[in-house]
């Protein structure tokens, strides 16, 4: 079989994605992103000719360069998305920890008052 290694790895990749999605541990928006990427990779592995057709359409001499271009663009986008969402989470986390700390202090002082009243 031609391109055996490519087929195998892209199938494993998609399989891992599908498994994770089915387990429900990944949020939907990421699931969709990775499913689309996984299917895309599999399609190219099955039919590498597609790459050549697209490359000639975009006037790119070496088809592999088209692959690199897409891979870099998508990775850049994904990393940017993740770091902006991570920042958002960190801001929320700081606020949450701060509020929990204040609540903890309030609970402690209230329970001290209750203890005193009991005695």
């Amino acid at each position: 079989v031609r391109y055996f290694l490519g087929l195998l790895s892209s199938t494993l990749f998609l399989g891992a994605i599908v498994r994770t999605v089915l387990k429900g541990v990944m949020r939907l928006r990421y699931s969709i992103l990775w499913l689309v990427l996984g299917i895309g990779v599999l399609i190219i592995a099955v039919a590498p000719n597609l790459l050549e057709i697209f490359a000639s359409f975009f006037d790119i001499a070496i088809p592999l360069n088209l692959l690199f271009f897409f891979a870099l663009t998508i990775m850049g986008f994904v990393i940017f998305m993740i770091s902006s969402e991570n920042s958002f989470l960190q801001i929320k986390l700081v606020d949450l920890v701060s509020k929990v700390a204040l609540l903890e202090q309030q609970v402690n002082s209230l329970s001290e008052i209750v203890e005193k009243k009991k005695n």
Partner: protein
């Protein structure tokens, strides 16, 4: 008796200093409540603080001085304090100036203890002084206030500032020093500096290597530029 002044001490792994600091503060200003914000210490800071301080709040994770002070301002707002004075947990600040800051707070929203005002002789590396000068310049150009020591953590806030900082005290790098001053001045609060003398750091990182200082300096420049650029959107988001 309801007290109006809260001395807030942000502390990270200060087990060896915190008891002395709390005692000194209580001795210097008996009419104040003392709050220690334990910012996720891994040593005995929490235990020691709970024995000696009036109040202790502990962050589950280390979040930085900015977040610790935001928690302190929230506490102050919630419990109806009129004045908050920030005081370092590492023994770097001198209690001699707390009273003076408190007095200035009667008329001013934010009071900063400056190491470079008046006749103080505070020895710092050249590159640090350069960085501090740069920050002063940024404040002057960006929000038209003249501050000689924007990185000083020896400062006080009165009611208007407490209300503002409880929700918006910046948590980013340089936020607790530079960022909070930008916010305060953009919101029209009055800011005043008074000369203070600080002790040398008791142990810990005494002097940085030149490379580390350079990195620090470049970071300060980039961060402060970004801070001015993003102030408006940050402020809108946090409201």
């Amino acid at each position: 008796v309801k007290k109006s002044l809260l001395v807030a001490i942000p502390a990270l792994n200060e087990a060896s200093n915190i008891e002395g600091v709390i005692r000194e503060v209580k001795k210097a200003i008996p009419f104040a409540d003392v709050l220690v914000i334990d910012d996720g210490s891994t040593d005995n800071t929490l235990n020691i603080s709970s024995q000696h301080s009036d109040y202790v709040i502990t962050h589950a994770y280390n979040l930085g001085v900015g977040a610790a002070m935001r928690t302190a301002f929230r506490f102050a707002k919630h419990n109806g304090y009129t004045f908050v004075i920030q005081f370092d947990g590492d023994g770097q600040h001198s209690t001699d100036f707390i009273k003076q800051i408190y007095e200035e707070l009667q008329l001013t929203d934010v009071v900063i203890g400056s190491r470079f005002l008046g006749t103080t002789t505070y020895e710092l590396e050249k590159i640090r002084i350069l960085a501090i000068r740069f920050l002063s310049l940024m404040l002057r150009a960006g929000v038209q206030i003249k501050i000689t020591d924007p990185t000083s953590g020896n400062r006080g806030a009165s009611l208007r500032a407490i209300q503002l900082f409880a929700d918006t005290y910046p948590i980013e790098y340089l936020g607790d020093t530079l960022g909070s001053l930008i916010i305060a001045s953009k919101e029209g609060l009055t800011i005043k500096e008074i000369p203070v003398v600080m002790n040398d750091r008791q142990g810990g990182e005494a002097s940085q290597t030149t490379l580390a200082s350079m990195k620090h300096f470049v970071r300060i420049i980039l961060v402060s530029l970004l801070m001015f650029l993003t102030w408006n959107s940050n402020n809108r988001r946090e409201r």
